[in-house]
Amino acid sequence: MAKKRRFSAAEARAEVIKAGMKLVAEVGTEPGLARVRLNDAIARSGVPRPSAYRVFTNSERLPQSEFRAALLVALVREQAPISDGSQVFDAASRVLANNKDLLDSGSPTDLAWLLREFIRVIGLIKSNELRTFESAIYSMSLRSLAMDPYPDPDLVHLFDSLIRRITSDFAAVYDPVVKQFGLRPRAGTSVEEFAELTVQASGMAILQKFPSFAEPVLRPTGRDGELLEWDALAVTVHGLVLSMLEPDPESDVRVDLASGVPSAAPVSPSQLGD
C-alpha cells in the first residue's frame, strides 16, 4: 500500500493553492474564479480532504470563499510583474518615429494632431493588451475587494501596492511624452494623478466585451478630417489630456491643444486653402 504523504497545515495550504492556480491556468480567468472549486483543487493537490478543509476554515468565511480569496492573493502575487507600460512605450516610440517630420516641424497644430493620433493608436493597442490574463486577474481582485464586506487584508495590501506600482510605471512612461509635446500638468494636478486616472479608465477596455459597449466612436480626426475609429479608452484619455494638461510656457515646443476642440465659428476647409 502506498504510504500517504503527510502535510503540515502550511504545506497543505500551499499545495491546494498551487493546484488551484493550475486550474485557473487551464480554464482561463474568463469564467471568473467562481468556477475554480475547492474540491477540484484538493483532488488535484493530493492533500487529504479533511486536512485541506481544516486549513481553509475560519470564523468569517466558508472554506470555498476562503480558498478563493487565498487563490486570488496568490494569483496577484504571482502576476505582480503586470504590464509595466513597456509595450505601450514601444508602440509610442514607433508612432513618434513614423511621424518624425511632424514632430520636427514645430507647427503647433501639427503637433496637436500628432498627439491626438498618438493617443488614438496607443489606446487601441492598450485596449487589446488589457484583455489579457493579467488584467483579468487585476479586475477580479478589484471586484473582489469591492464586493467583499471583509476584504482579505493581504489582498488589500497587495492590490494597493500593485495599483501604486502600475500608476508610477505609467507616470514614468508619460512624463517624457508630456515634455516632448511641450505640455505640463495643470496647477493642482500632476503626471502621477493623470496616470492614475488613465489606469482607472483602462477598466473600460474590459467592459468593451459587453455588446452594448463594443461600438467604437467615429471621430473626424484624420489628417484631412477623415473619420477614424476611437475606442472608449482612447477617447477618455484624450479628454483627460485636454482637461488635465496644458502647454508649458517654459518649453520650446508649442502645441495648440485647443485646435482639436471644435470652435464656435468652424473654419471651412476651403477657407483654410488660401
Partner: protein, 257 residues
Amino acid sequence: MVRKRRFSAVEARDEVIQAGLEILREQGLEPGLSRVTLNDSIAAAGVPRPSAYRVFTGPDLAPQDEFRAALLVSLVERFGATAQRSVGVVVGEGKAVLEMDDPVEAASVLREIVRVASLAEEEEMRTALGAGFSTSLIATAMDAEPDPATVEAFKTVFDSITDRYANAYGDVLKLFGLRAQPQTSLKQIAALIVQAADVTLLHNFGPFASRKMRPTGPGGEMQEWSTLGIVIEGYILTLLEPDPNVAFSADLRTLVS
C-alpha cells in the same frame, strides 16, 4: 390562528424583490447576486410560496433566473433614478445661463455644472447598491459564457439608462448651444459616461483619493472634483461641438487654453 395576508400578483412580486434587495444589503455583495435565492427572498417576504412562484414563472426562464433578472432590473432602475435626479439638478442650474450671452462665461458655468452634478452622482453611486450594479456588470462582462438572461437584463436596463441620460444631456446641451459631433450621438456619449462611472466607482476601493483638486474656481481657486467629473469634462471637449443652427454657444476652447 394568525390570518395570512393576501397578495396580488404585483404586490407579491414587489415584496419578494424588496426582500431580495434586503438580503443583498445584509450579506454584502461579495457572493454576487447568485447567492440571493428566490426561496430565501420568499421566506423573508412572507409571501406564500405558490403565489410567489407563479409570479416569477416566465415563458423562457426558470423562476430563480426570472427572479434574479427582476432583481437586477430593480437594482439598476434605482441607479437610473439617481442619474436622472442629478441631471435634473444640472438642468435647473443651467437655466440661469439662458440669461447670459457670454460664450466664455457659459463654458465655465457648464464646467461648474459638470463638477457639481458628478460629485453628487458619485456620492450616490457609492452606496452598496450602486457598487453592486457595477460589479455585476463587470462580472458579466468578464464571463466567457455569460448567462443570457443576465445579459438581456443588462441590455434592457442599459438602453433605458443611456436613453434617460442622453435625453437629459440633450436638454442641458441645448441650453449651452452644443450638440454631439455628427458621427457620434448623445446616446453613445451617455454610454461612455455610464462606463466611466462604473470603472471610477470601482476604483474608490483602491489606494487613491477619489477627489481631486483643480483650480477651476471663478478666481482660479482650487475646487474639489470627482474623477468622474474630470472624465466627463474630457468627453465634452472631445465629442461635442457648437450647434451651428443657434445664435449662441459656449466656447469650449476656453476650457482648454
